[in-house]
């Protein structure tokens, strides 16, 4: 039998982490408990974060929005601040897993799992999200892109916990776009996904573009080159086509049971062509 702990405060948690450093940490259980069943985790103890109030909720802090790591996807979807400022994240959350998975799973879990297919990750990358990492007597902030190191790998050290995600409000973007290509419309793992935030002028010129792809590399892929190919140009088939070709060289997907690398590569580019829908 594994011991299951439900600390109520971070202080209780730090104490637990000292006592049971080998324990596996989970919040919603939609990832860790699946791995446990599959025998991929052999921890002798489990620490569930769902009761730690400090880790939950969205806080509007003026220029910045703080999301507690154990905030569920469902709570985020219903949050007016997230709805107002980060539609691209809402779009991704609305196609994440399924309703019960969204009721249970948390944004922190999605980040720490660090799957290249994690649905919230491309939006968080284009929004230049920062994460907050804390431990018994310290804390730090770092960009998400530095936190995630590879598939399933983060820079979290022993005794450390991802406690929150910080997003800067930006009035820059008037287009928030997310598209997930999965094998079906729900309960799907992304085969390719694209998050894009754009500032498009009244005349249809892309003044600023941030793009990120999921499931086409070891981590979320961003490409300044592709962003540059869009910035300063009018949205058109030609512009998007050129950017698509560049995107296909920027990604580095693998073959897996869901799709071939070649398909992912093609579609990673093709998804940019959908931005034609935002032409003025």
């Amino acid at each position: 039998m594994r011991e299951v702990f439900l600390p109520r405060t971070l202080d209780e948690l730090w104490d637990l982490l000292l006592r049971r450093p080998e324990a596996a940490i989970y919040a919603g259980g939609t990832d860790v408990l699946v791995k446990l069943r599959a025998g991929l985790i052999s921890a002798s103890g489990l620490i569930c974060l769902e009761r730690i109030e400090e880790l939950r909720g969205v806080r509007d802090q003026g220029d910045e929005v703080y999301i507690g790591a154990a905030t569920t996807h469902r709570a985020l979807l219903a949050d007016p601040v997230i709805q107002e400022y980060f539609p691209v994240l809402i779009q991704a959350l609305s196609v994440l897993g399924s309703p019960p998975v969204r009721n249970m799973g948390t944004i922190g879990g999605n980040v720490v799992t660090a799957s290249p297919a994690g649905d919230t990750l491309p939006p968080l990358y284009v929004l230049d999200a920062e994460v907050e990492v804390r431990w018994g007597d310290g804390a730090k902030r770092l960009p998400l892109s530095q936190f995630i190191l590879g598939p399933g790998k983060t820079s979290l050290g022993p005794g450390q916990l991802l406690t929150g995600v910080r997003l800067k409000k930006s009035a820059d973007y008037n287009v928030h776009h997310f598209e997930k290509v999965g094998q079906r419309k729900a309960l799907a793992i992304a085969v390719v996904s694209l998050a894009a935030v754009l500032k498009v002028s009244d005349s249809g010129r892309i003044e600023k573009a941030r793009l990120a792809w999921g499931s086409v590399g070891p981590t979320v892929i961003r490409s300044v080159e592709v962003e540059n190919a869009l910035e300063g140009r009018i949205i058109s088939r030609n512009t998007l086509g050129r950017a698509a070709a560049l995107a296909q060289t920027a990604v580095s997907p693998i073959d897996d049971i869901r799709a071939s690398a070649a398909y992912r590569c093609t579609v990673a580019g093709n998804l940019l062509l959908r931005l034609i829908n935002y032409a003025r």
């Binding site: 039998m1 594994r2 011991e3 299951v4 702990f5 439900l6 919603g28 259980g29 939609t30 408990l33 699946v34 069943r37 599959a38 489990l46 569930c48 769902e50 469902r74 897993g97 399924s98 309703p99 019960p100 998975v101 009721n103 249970m104 419309k185 729900a186 309960l187």
Partner: protein, 154 residues
């Protein structure tokens, strides 16, 4: 470990292994076999229960997590006046075939209607999209949820 929670409206106290899955606790210890298991990994929704009114997958929850919660399983959905309107509508609309997805599907529908009292057909489909059914093709299930909405209104 000892846990206290409200199960289908009744407070209970149990001594259980803390890491027993909720689905096993319900089925094996409490004889509430209306909660089904079909995949064990959150991919099918057959084990759906309501925890504090929200749908949860009982195969991905451990008993310790029930402490202090209010749990509704399919057995506890009916009220004093009989079947829940969603249950009633599933029967009338022909939304039940083999019935193994039914308890989870009904509870998912209850959760949906709690959030969205008057959903469109596509919202119903979306709301039930975590619950696999292999018999019905889903259409009569969607019909049933619509019917439940109208019955509650009427």
């Amino acid at each position: 470990m000892k846990i206290n929670f409200v199960l289908n409206g009744r407070e209970i106290e149990l001594t259980v292994p803390s890491d027993i899955r909720v689905v096993d606790l319900l089925r094996e210890e409490l004889d509430l076999t209306g909660t089904k298991e079909s995949c064990g990994s959150g991919e099918c929704g057959a084990c759906t229960i309501l925890v504090d009114g929200q749908s949860r997958l009982s195969c991905l929850m451990l008993a310790a997590q029930l402490q202090g919660r209010e749990v509704t399983t399919i057995e506890g959905l009916a009220g004093d006046k009989g079947r829940h309107p969603v249950q009633e509508a599933f029967v009338s609309a022909g939304a039940v075939q083999c019935g193994f997805c039914t308890p989870g599907m009904v509870l998912a529908a209850v959760d949906l209607l709690e959030r969205r009292p008057d959903p469109s057909r596509s919202e119903i489909r979306e709301g039930l999209s975590g619950n696999l059914c292999r018999c019905t093709g889903y259409q009569k299930i969607v019909d049933a949820v619509e019917m439940a909405v109208h019955r509650e209104e009427g």
